[in-house]
């Protein structure tokens, strides 16, 4: 590593809101984090010259050099394993996994090393590695490119797991992840990469950002409306937040109010926000793309039911993928939960 990376000029982070796609909001977050902390470095397949298959790291190698934006050999176990080593040396590696289905070769490193190293070190070191995983379906892709493996990580003690749904959250949450002392898995909703939204960037904007592990009421229902009955809490995250908002709009036209909670963080889970909403509406539906069986919805349902049992008018219902491998793209629309399917569950939870 004799080449010295071109160091960007001291970077005045932008603060005025701009319109960015979710993908570009991540690019901006990575850029700003790298400028702010020279220990941040990026590792992954094709992330340098190519800028990543989704172009999320586009321009970053040119800006920060090959030592900080590392095109790695094709080996996910070692991307994670070397990241652990780099973190032990004081670096903050951000690992890009090219697609959801390719994270499994790294599973042992993630579950047995990254997640457990802090407990093993017992205070004598940290491994603040960030793992970025473009995930989820709906992009018409071939096998292994449309999966939703978040439950594996959320069930793993020692990891933090987040799933931004909007460009602004993508920016904020990634920047926050990059100040965490713990490993963070970022589930990036790949079919929303091209969705646009206003993003306030820069260090100053981080002060406005909600806490990393808080949920967000993406569409509130007023206390009165909730008290009147016929309102339902819909819990979503990542790619299904858009589905939930679409459903909410359709439901509103039929006089049903959906309070949409965007979880944002999957582990730890902001149970409080969901429970509070559930207590007001008395009805909850959870929606995600992963198979329902032992998906995030199971935990949300179990936890919310435990905390709000006597407020619930109906069991928490779950809408999600089926108990089969992700199907061929030509039928994925039948696999993925859409607004229609969500509204069907809303009807059921309302006993309509």
């Amino acid at each position: 590593m004799t080449t010295t990376a071109t160091r960007p000029a001291p970077h005045a982070e932008a603060t005025a809101p701009t319109t960015l796609t979710l993908a570009k909001a991540i690019t901006a977050a990575l850029h700003d984090a790298m400028a702010a902390d020279e220990k941040v470095l990026l590792m992954g397949e094709d992330i340098g010259r190519l800028g990543g298959v989704f172009r999320v790291t586009d321009g970053l190698q040119a800006a920060f050099g090959e030592d900080r934006v590392v095109d790695t050999p094709l080996a996910e176990a070692s991307i994670l394993g070397t990241a652990v080593g780099l973190a032990l040396r004081g670096y903050r590696p951000v690992c890009e996994i090219q697609f959801d289905g390719f994270v499994y070769p790294a599973f042992s490193q993630i579950v047995s090393q990254l997640a457990k190293m802090p407990a093993r070190l017992a205070g004598a070191g940290t491994v603040p590695v960030v793992v970025r995983i473009p995930y989820g379906g709906g992009i018409g892709a071939v096998e292994h490119h449309s999966e939703s493996p978040e439950a594996y990580f959320a069930h793993t003690a020692g990891l933090r797991v987040i799933a931004p749904a909007t460009p602004q959250d993508a920016y904020w949450m990634l920047r926050q992840a990059l100040t965490q002392p713990d490993p963070v898995v970022v589930m990036e909703p790949k079919r929303r990469y091209w969705d646009k939204g206003a993003v306030t960037a820069g260090a100053a904007s981080l002060a406005e950002a909600p806490a990393l592990h808080s949920a967000r009421v993406a569409r509130p229902v007023s206390a009165e409306r909730a008290a009147a009955g016929g309102a339902v809490t819909v819990v979503a995250y990542g790619p299904t937040v858009r589905v939930a908002l679409d459903a909410a709009q359709a439901a509103a036209e039929e006089g049903v109010e959906l309070e949409v909670v965007d979880l944002r963080s999957l582990s730890p889970l902001d149970t409080g926000t969901v429970v509070e909403s559930a207590q007001r509406t008395g009805r909850v539906v959870v929606v995600h793309e992963a198979p329902v069986f032992l998906g995030m919805g199971a935990e949300v349902a179990a936890r919310v039911t435990e905390a709000a049992f006597h407020s619930l008018e109906a069991p928490v219902l779950r809408v999600g993928g089926f108990a089969v491998p992700y199907p061929a793209a030509r039928v994925e629309e039948h696999y993925l939960p859409d607004a229609e399917r969500l509204l069907d569950a809303v009807d059921r939870v309302l006993a309509r």
Binding site: A77, V142, E332
Partner: protein, 373 residues
């Protein structure tokens, strides 16, 4: 650091880029049965596969396929390797093995159904000995080694019966060589002397990463480090590939254990239709490899030796057009799978949850308003 990407002429070569046949006592003998007629067959395979590939690329541009991973430039490697196999041999391919699929008799439309997003494969490996395309890089190599261990247990090695002794071809790319599972599979095959031919098409690139990012020594030497003979072959020379793979397959079938063959070739197109190789690959490289085309040299050789004339090449071209038309029509007419088919093969046995979800979706589709479908 040793040179990891030598020019293919330094490797085993029987037909040079100009179409001149090189004398080579050892390797030449292995393809002594390949005369003009057989060479025409191989040319025809390569030309049809290339035509098919071009059609697939066009179909992707027209929105008929979700994606296409072109094999253009790798026809000699694939056809040569496939022609070295016996009917009872088995192939564990990557996602780019269209030329091998072709020779093994897999319906091209089945391959396209995968890239259309209409299936995950679905051809019958028991019929063709050609297993499903594997998209997780390197994962098929342990399958190949395991399959070969099954061959050993069946006693289908070293019987001396050419219709029985069985080899397994394990395909992978230069990028794949970095995956731990690839090293593991090579090592297992060495330890168990399993009848596997590890067949790497080193096409210079793994998406945007050149081979210098994958290894610091030639793969053939890597093989030797595991106790496995390794051979580098000009992957754009269909004859040389056939010779080298034949020797390796013969060794496997006769109980001599695995071999690694590294075929030096070039991915002429971008990684897939979603990729843009101009972002990372110098033009000169494309130009250089254009001079090493696998079809040109066979055509030149056949013409120079009187092995084929215009009529032959015209006929192959016409056949290619026919194939193209058939493929185009087939894809355009390809029915989408039944939505409920996603439940059909997840489990071979009964599964109450799958049955319940299937019933739910069946009802849902039946009651959904027409336009939502």
């Amino acid at each position: 650091m040793p040179d990891a990407v030598p020019a293919p002429d330094a490797a085993v070569q029987l037909l040079d880029p100009s179409g001149t046949r090189r004398e080579d006592a050892r390797w030449g003998a292995l393809v002594s049965g390949v005369g003009a007629e057989q060479l025409r067959e191989r040319y025809r395979d390569m030309a049809l596969v290339r035509r098919f590939d071009a059609e697939a690329t066009a179909l992707q541009r027209q929105g008929e396929l979700a994606l296409w991973a072109s094999g253009t430039g790798q026809e000699a490697a694939q056809v040569g390797a496939a022609r070295a196999l016996a009917p009872q041999d088995h192939v564990f391919p990557t996602y780019r093995e269209h030329g091998i699929a072709w020779v093994r008799g897999v319906d091209p439309l089945q391959v396209l159904s995968l890239y259309r997003g209409a299936s995950h494969g679905g051809w019958d490996p028991r019929a063709s000995g050609f297993h499903p395309y594997t998209l997780v890089i390197g994962a098929q190599l342990p399958h190949a080694t395991g399959y070969a261990m099954g061959v050993q247990r069946d006693g289908d090695v070293a019987t001396g019966d050419p219709a029985r002794d069985t080899a397994v071809l394990a395909c992978f790319g230069d990028g794949a060589s970095s995956q731990g599972e690839v090293s593991e599979a090579l090592n297992w095959a060495a330890v168990f002397r399993a009848p596997v031919v590890f067949f790497c098409q080193n096409n210079g690139w793994a998406i945007s990463s050149p081979t210098s990012r994958q290894f610091a020594a030639p793969l053939a030497r890597r093989a030797e480090g595991f106790g496995v003979p390794g051979v580098q072959v000009d992957g754009n020379d269909v004859l040389a590939v056939e010779a080298v793979v034949r020797e390796a397959a013969d060794r496997a079938r006769s109980g001599g254990g695995p071999t690694l063959v590294e075929a030096l070739t070039f991915r002429v197109a971008a990684h897939t239709t979603s990729d843009d190789s101009s972002r990372y690959r110098p033009r000169e490289e494309d130009e250089l490899w254009a001079t090493r085309d696998p079809l040109t040299r066979v055509e030149a050789h056949l013409r120079a030796t009187g092995g084929a004339d215009d009529a032959f090449f015209d006929a192959v071209r016409a056949e290619g057009d026919e194939l193209g038309a058939r493929v185009r029509r087939g894809v355009r007419e390809m029915a989408d799978p039944e939505p409920l088919s996603m439940f059909d093969h997840a489990y071979a046995g009964d599964h109450p949850l799958v049955a319940q979800e299937r019933a739910w979706l069946e009802g849902w589709i039946a009651t959904e308003p027409e336009e939502a479908r």
